[in-house]
Every structure is written in structure tokens, then in C-alpha cells.
């Protein structure tokens, strides 16, 4: 399966994706197992950080 690129993801999209993992029952990646350990606020902070990193380029 493909690995999604973060290069063009804005913070809102990222944050929504990460939040989705918290309830995702799909067992094919570790993402849902890890995302459940973070609060919504923390996932938003991660998204902000990653999208800022991407726009630095």
C-alpha cells in the first residue's frame, strides 16, 4: 500500500486524518494504535508542526 505524502497536506486535512485514525478499526497500519494515545489538541499541534515543516521548503 502507498505511503501518503505530507508535502501538500494542510494542517486541517492532516488533523482530520489523524483524528480519523483514533476511531479507525482498520488493522493494517500502526496509525490507529498510536493515534488513540493522543488528545485532539495534541493531534492538532502535530498537524500544525508538520504542515509548517512542509511549507518551509
Amino acid at each position: 500500500m502507498g505511503v501518503p505524502s505530507l508535502d501538500r497536506m494542510d494542517a486541517g486535512t492532516l488533523s482530520a486524518r489523524l483524528a480519523f485514525y483514533k476511531t479507525d478499526a482498520d488493522g493494517t497500519t500502526v496509525m490507529h494504535r498510536i493515534a488513540r494515545g493522543y488528545s485532539q489538541t495534541q493531534l492538532e499541534a502535530i498537524s500544525q508542526y508538520l504542515s509548517a515543516e512542509a511549507s518551509d521548503e
Binding site: 505524502s5 497500519t29 500502526v30 494504535r33 488513540r36 495534541q42 502535530i46
Partner: protein, 427 residues
């Protein structure tokens, strides 16, 4: 926030948000333009990552890495080398990128540490002063904890628990043995580096036997009765290696107490077993320099304040990676990488008259069950209040009874993880 020079590979998203959490959850303040001297001992996944992170966080500080080996040989994925499906060259990494970024990489071993004077002595006699020291020494072995297993035994009975020449020796012994010969692996009691590692290795050795020495078998003599990802491994073994792998638990007389390298004999309480190839994974402790620095306790491992990674025994010295007492975080490259980032931020804060702050850490360990199928375990942890605790409801294992497509997808994610983690540390 811009952090030039620190390669966060956004294309490796599947590496897991955990690898990024150390930098993500803490709003990074403008650190003091400190000219402090930070010294890092050990250039593995922990030390190399910490050095790079600090280089970026503290541009005016002096960042020095002491690492005697010019080439780093990565442990993750090295079981594939033993199983014959991966080249050791894919495990090699250099410190060139670190040197180019302004980290002083000194190719010497740290031979002594004076925690009061804050001076480290190198193998060449040089004395290096520091304001903060980060020790990332990995593991060393408890020679003769298994009677007869000492440093001289490793040629005949390689442990291959530090990737390098031993990895190749074990691979070559497997290749040279006859079809029908017996392979025996001894697994120590915990704690040890890479809890699922012995069982990944067993899977890949069994895979090699199945394909190349079909009349041969691997016997695992275990000092444990249960182990990491046990249901997933047992399922895989039943499915792939019913004729090539036998696991004997500690309670079934599996614990090896004595070996004789000359005759390749492994002895339990009640039995002497003659092997044709013997892989003895010995009991372990923190890398030797930890004891000399006074940061290891009676257990042989290093107690730390989980929030700052500062030793609870020696102020001014931080310890990260396999050497630490960090349970429930396992001793893994993933843990070491993330602990390095969190520790680097804590050191930068402490050097800038700020306290260390708690955050959320994570770990994922992938294990190959065949050369192209993998399973994983994940965990998420808090380091608040100076202690590591599991965050309930998070983490867990790959699903049982999943098809080969799921296992192959996880193998691809494992590859992506390896590329990301080695890129962060060395790339």
C-alpha cells in the same frame, strides 16, 4: 518552526507520528544563545539523533559526539541478513552528514567520566569538559552469566546481538551447515535489547532452513514463558514453520544455564543439547561506560527521570536508549530515537534556564515473520512526573488471523520506517 538540517522525511508518514512527537507537542521557545558544551557518548540511534537535534536547537553551542566506530551497523533489519535475504551493506551508515552539519565527531571511545569535574576522558587521552553530558551507550553483555559464555565464546557461538561481524558469522555458519543439522538459539531473561528480536530471528532462520536445509530444525531454548507479540509469532510459526521451529519455554526446561563452546553444547537444568550451529543471546546490561560514569545501578541499567532523561544518580548526565530503565518503553531503535529528541529538548531547556516539560512518547516495533511479511507492536507513553506510564487505550498488536496482504503491507511500512529512522539519525 524552521529547523534547517534536520531531515524529517514527510514522505515517510507511515513511520508513525510517534517519531515526530518529540518535536511536535512542545512549543519550542527561542533558546538562549548558549555557548554551552554538550557532549554525547555513543553514535547509535539515540546518540546520533540527539546530536543532530541539539545542533539545530542550540546553534551557538558546542556539540561533540564521541563514537569510536567510523561506520555504524544498524541492528533493526539485521535478522534479514542472518536469514540470507538482505545485504549487510544495507545496514551500514556513516557520520559524514553529522560532521558536515557542524557536530564535532571524535572517533574515540570514552574511557572515563568524572561527573563532579564534568570531564570525559577519551581513548587517546584527551580530556573533554562538558556542561551537559548525554550517554547513549547501548548494551553490553554479562559474560559468564551463562556459565562458559564469555567474550572468547562468540566465534563458536555468535550472539549477533550487536550488528556487525557476529551477524555475518551466524549467517555464514547457517550457510555452511549440512542439511539435517540442528540450530539452537538461547534467549535470555528480560530485560534485553529488542524484546521481539529473538523471535523475529527465529522466524527468519526457520525460513532459511525451510528453503535451503529442509531436514534441519531450529530449537529455541527460552528463559521466558511468554514474549513480545507471542500470539502473532506462534500463529506464524504454526502456519509457516511447523517442521522447522520448536520453542521450549523456561518452564519446560528451556533455560540455558551453561554452554561449552568447544563442543557446541548448551545445557539446561536437566539436559545437554549438542548443536551444529548455536546462537547464544546472553543476558545484558547497560553499555560499560554507564557503570564507569556512575549512572548504572545494581541492576546494571540506568535509572533516569523520565521527563528530563537526567540520571537520578549523577546530575548533569542524561541517559537515553537501551541503557535506560524506561519500562514500559521497550529497548528499541524507535524508543532511542524518540527519547533522544525529547532529551535534546530537555537539555536545551535546562541550558536556557527552563525546566524540562512532559510530553507523549510512542514506540513501534516491526518484526518480520517471513522475508516479506511483518507484524508490529505499538505503545504510547507519558513521561509526566518523571515516570514512564502506558497511555491506556492506545497501542497493541497487529490483528491475528490477518491475510498475507496485511502482513505484506506491514513489511512495506517497516521498510519505510527503517528509511525514516536511519535518515533522521545518519542521512
Amino acid at each position: 518552526m524552521s529547523k534547517p538540517g534536520f531531515p524529517v522525511d514527510r514522505r515517510r508518514f507511515m513511520a508513525g507520528i510517534g517519531t515526530l512527537a518529540g518535536t511536535s507537542l512542545l512549543p519550542l521557545p527561542a533558546f538562549a544563545k548558549t555557548r554551552a558544551r554538550v557532549l554525547i557518548i555513543g553514535g547509535g540511534f539515540g546518540g546520533a539523533t540527539a546530536a543532530r537535534m541539539l545542533r539545530d536547537l542550540l546553534p551557538s553551542a558546542s556539540i561533540t559526539l564521541l563514537e569510536p566506530n567510523a561506520t555504524y551497523t544498524a541492528c533493526p533489519f539485521s535478522n534479514l541478513v542472518i536469514g540470507g535475504t538482505r545485504s549487510i551493506a544495507d545496514q551500514y551508515f556513516s557520520y559524514e552528514a553529522l560532521s558536515l552539519s557542524g557536530i564535532a565527531v571524535i572517533p574515540e571511545r570514552a574511557t572515563d567520566i568524572d561527573p563532579v569535574a564534568r570531564v570525559v576522558t577519551c581513548g587517546d587521552g584527551r580530556a573533554l569538559g562538558y556542561d551537559r553530558l548525554i550517554v547513549s551507550p547501548g548494551i553490553d553483555f554479562r559474560w559468564n552469566a551463562i556459565e562458559g559464555y564469555d567474550a572468547a565464546a562468540v566465534d563458536r557461538m555468535p550472539h549477533a546481538w550487536k550488528a556487525g561481524p557476529g551477524t555475518l558469522r551466524l549467517r555464514d555458519q547457517l550457510a555452511a551447515m549440512d542439511n539435517g543439522d540442528l540450530v539452537v538459539m538461547s534467549v535470555p531473561a528480560p530485560p534485553f535489547r529488542c524484546p521481539p528480536g529473538p523471535y523475529e530471528r527465529a522466524s527468519l532462520i526457520a525460513n532459511y532452513l525451510k528453503n535451503h536445509k529442509p531436514n534441519s530444525k531450529l530449537l529455541i531454548l527460552d528463559s521466558q514463558d511468554s514474549f513480545s507479540k507471542m500470539p502473532l509469532f506462534k500463529e506464524a510459526w504454526e502456519r509457516h514453520y511447523p517442521d522447522h521451529l520448536e520453542w521450549r519455554a523456561a518452564s519446560q526446561d528451556g533455560r540455558v544455564i551453561r554452554v561449552d563452546p568447544a563442543t557446541l553444547t548448551l545445557s539446561t537444568d536437566f539436559e545437554d543439547i549438542r548443536a551444529d550451529v548455536a546462537n547464544v543471546i546472553p543476558p545484558q546490561k547497560a553499555g560499560e561506560i554507564a557503570a564507569r560514569a556512575g549512572v548504572a545501578d545494581a541492576t546494571g541499567w540506568c535509572p533516569i527521570d523520565a521527563t528530563s532523561f537526567e540520571s537520578t544518580l549523577q546530575p548533569g548526565i542524561h541517559v537515553i536508549g537501551d541503557a535506560t530503565i524506561a519500562a514500559p518503553m521497550p529497548k528499541s531503535a524507535f524508543s532511542a530515537n524518540l527519547q533522544a529528541k525529547v532529551c535534546a529538548i530537555a537539555v536545551a531547556r535546562l541550558l536556557s534556564e527552563m525546566d524540562a516539560q512532559p510530553t507523549v512518547l510512542a514506540n513501534t516495533c516491526y518484526s518480520f515473520i517471513t522475508p516479506d511479511e511483518a507484524v508490529s507492536i505499538a505503545g504510547v507513553y507519558s513521561n509526566a512526573g518523571g515516570k514512564f506510564t502506558n497511555i491506556d487505550g492506545a497501542g497493541g498488536l497487529s490483528p491475528l488471523a490477518a491475510g498475507p496482504d496485511v502482513r505484506k503491507a506491514e513489511a512495506a511500512q517497516a521498510e519505510a520506517w527503517f528509511a525514516a529512522i536511519t535518515g533522521e539519525a545518519f542521512g
